[in-house]
Symmetry: C2
């Protein structure tokens, strides 16, 4: 069987399973999640064996230490997967709710019902625990899923796949409701993203290169997450302690996440009072500053920023720093250089807070909070499959609701159109 | 200037204007709509001249009568455009509303704000009144718009464009908030759909060929409307008079619309009692029936249906007719042959009604109502820019809300992430 035929078979299976999953009860889907949990718990030895094989092959192929670390399924990571399944089973079912039904002049009553998307394709890199996380969210939202993990985690993913199949079958759902691609052939990705007849949406999880390639080549809609060039703007008159706390937390709580601040904008009115204290705090935290001309005048010891720095998602202990005239200049900077991910203003002024919320065109806009809060758990979504920087459909952290759609439902009593 | 440079200039203008429109007040946008109305009313003579030129060129080029009819801007059609502007100005502003704000364990309060999409590209065929309809909805929803009409209506569209610009300027909005492409060069379309840096979404309005080509080539998300292969299923035990009324209305109220029924499914239990009466009613209405084997046994005079008939969007007084065993068989048929547009069940049974609503995967699903109700006005959206058969973002009739997005807004009091 060619790779094309193989992927089309997965697609046909998924399309057929999607109808059954969509029609399944909440209880059946929750039971399946808990049965998958039990299957994984019972198969720890097999999981460890498969993972050890992937790790050994990875070391032979010279994978770097960071990749090998992400690949490893430690007992603690397996515990976390099991706990995740229990939590997802406990979340409210997003499917089937009908929003406010209104009666129209014709007498028909019109509402919108939340329904599964259908078939979701997930393409991700080395972490095998994503297999369980992504599959569980998609299943809870009533979808069938095709997962394509990294080739370096193939054996681990296959071991997980057999637990997924066992759990689904135990709950009376088709085992094909979650399918894990069983080949390392890269052509599988190309095929998965060009089967609109079988796949309704692709969620890529991985580096910018992967996501850009998928977006370019896909014939299926993609819920994508590109860079997070996030800003904090410290407004004129802001509380200095709050500004310092938020600016430090947004950069240093974790360096490598997409909601980490990459550029700090400071209103000129506060620069003289704030920059020395900021520089001291960042130096103590090991953060390198790259400043605009006006900040260099106050902090001659820091590196000058180049135009490229304003575009940079460092994902590292480096911060671009710019003194701006006022709110308008801050919004101009964010509009020009930002990536529409997450931006925050620290201010005491209500009018400027509301202007920032309205005029900054990002998936999350914040007042007096750290950008690090842009996260499905922190937003109360229960879990997230990623953070979307798209404008259509799901924007910002994508939870169960982002894995569903809505359709119009019409209740009539025999009405015809006049 | 090359066509590529010209389109990029329109894109840059639109991107800049979009920020101003998004930040504009409801009053400014409504004033602009009413000022456009006044400008069109004052320029009727110029509109008529331009349109007469288009019509003369169209006749020279041998356009068919239907196209020439759609191209004509009669005084009544101009009146309808003016009335449409007045109505859109009267609709509630969808922008800026913040949905239920919840407090999280961290203390931050999280909500979602409805915001414009940004820049909308509209690609359409001959009807010049679409220029005003589409521009007015996009503007009301806070977007900048680039419109690319058919080459046969170029002069009419340019005359309308000058009224749009005058109205925008009169209300203090940038004239570039609505730009009409001023060239018949087809390369303009290819450029418009591949500028994701300047265009956020494309809404094509036209035939299936146009929409398929745009979907295939676009690098920008497309809100698209493909075929409407709509079904009515008459369930076992349905009220016969209601079934006859709905089946007749769904086919004959208008033949050429996307929400017209193309295939009628009848439960075997009702076939004998219903088919003769249905056949008589359709014959009286001039509708040709194409039947399955079981229907031919009852109606030997009708044409046998081929497999292809079940896929067909006739847009004509032709109806495919199939007798099915029961609800499951009806849902199977719709899943296999339908186009996910609009499907209706006529039934007295509550359980089967709810199963049909849940299990039929279409943008509109109905109980005891004619498919012809799938329409933005009938659903209370005030107006529609089209009917989406996509699953992501807007699905079904697309009104002002479909021309907006939502972003997360976070209200903090200095919270940082622990």
């Amino acid at each position: 069987m060619s790779i094309e035929q193989y992927m089309q078979e997965l697609g046909r299976n998924a399309r057929a399973a999607a109808r059954q999953v969509a029609a399944s009860s909440t209880a059946a889907r929750n039971n399946a999640l808990l049965a998958v949990r039990d299957a994984l718990d019972g198969d720890r030895a097999a999981l460890a064996d498969a993972n050890a094989g992937d790790l050994a092959r990875g070391r032979e192929q010279g994978l770097d230490a960071a990749l090998l670390d992400r690949l490893e399924l430690t007992p603690a990571r397996i515990d976390a997967m099991l706990e995740g399944l229990r939590q997802v089973a406990g979340l409210p079912d997003p499917v089937g709710s009908i929003s406010e039904v209104n009666t129209m002049p014709s007498g028909i009553r019109v509402g919108q019902m939340r329904v599964p998307l259908g078939v979701v394709g997930i393409i991700y890199e080395s972490r095998p625990n994503v297999t369980v996380e992504a599959a569980s969210l998609c299943l809870k939202a009533g979808n069938a899923t095709i997962l394509r993990g990294g080739s370096e985690s193939l054996a681990s993913n296959q071991a997980i796949a057999s637990c997924l199949g066992a759990g689904l079958a135990a709950a009376g759902l088709p085992a094909t409701a979650v399918q894990v691609v069983a080949t390392a052939d890269r052509a599988a990705v190309g095929q998965l993203i060009t089967m609109p007849e079988y796949v309704d949406v692709i969620v890529p999880r991985g580096g910018k290169g992967l996501i850009e390639r998928i977006s370019r080549e896909a014939r299926v809609p993609v819920i994508k997450h590109l860079d997070g060039v996030c800003h904090v703007y410290i407004d004129a008159g802001a509380d200095h302690q709050m500004a310092l706390d938020i600016a430090l937390n947004a950069k240093t709580h974790r360096c490598g996440t997409c909601n980490t601040m990459e550029t700090l904008l400071v209103a000129a009115a506060e620069a003289e009072a704030l920059l020395p204290a900021l520089a001291q705090a960042y130096a103590a935290a090991g953060v390198e500053l790259r400043g605009c001309e006006r900040s260099l005048a106050l902090l001659p010891e820091i590196t000058p920023a180049t135009e490229q720095d304003w575009y940079e998602e460092y994902l590292a202990p480096v911060l671009a720093l710019r003194v701006v005239a006022d709110l308008d200049a801050a919004i101009d900077h964010i509009s020009c250089y930002g990536s529409h991910h997450t931006d925050s203003i620290v201010t005491r002024d209500h009018g400027r807070a509301m202007r920032f919320l309205r005029e900054v065109d990002s998936s999350s806009v914040m007042v007096n909070a750290s950008t690090r809060f842009a996260d499905g758990f922190e937003y109360g979504l229960g879990a997230e499959i990623g953070i979307s920087t798209d404008k259509l459909h799901a924007r910002g952290p994508v939870g169960l609701e982002g894995l569903t759609s809505r359709k119009y439902v019409v209740f009539g009593e025999g009405q015809v159109r006049r």
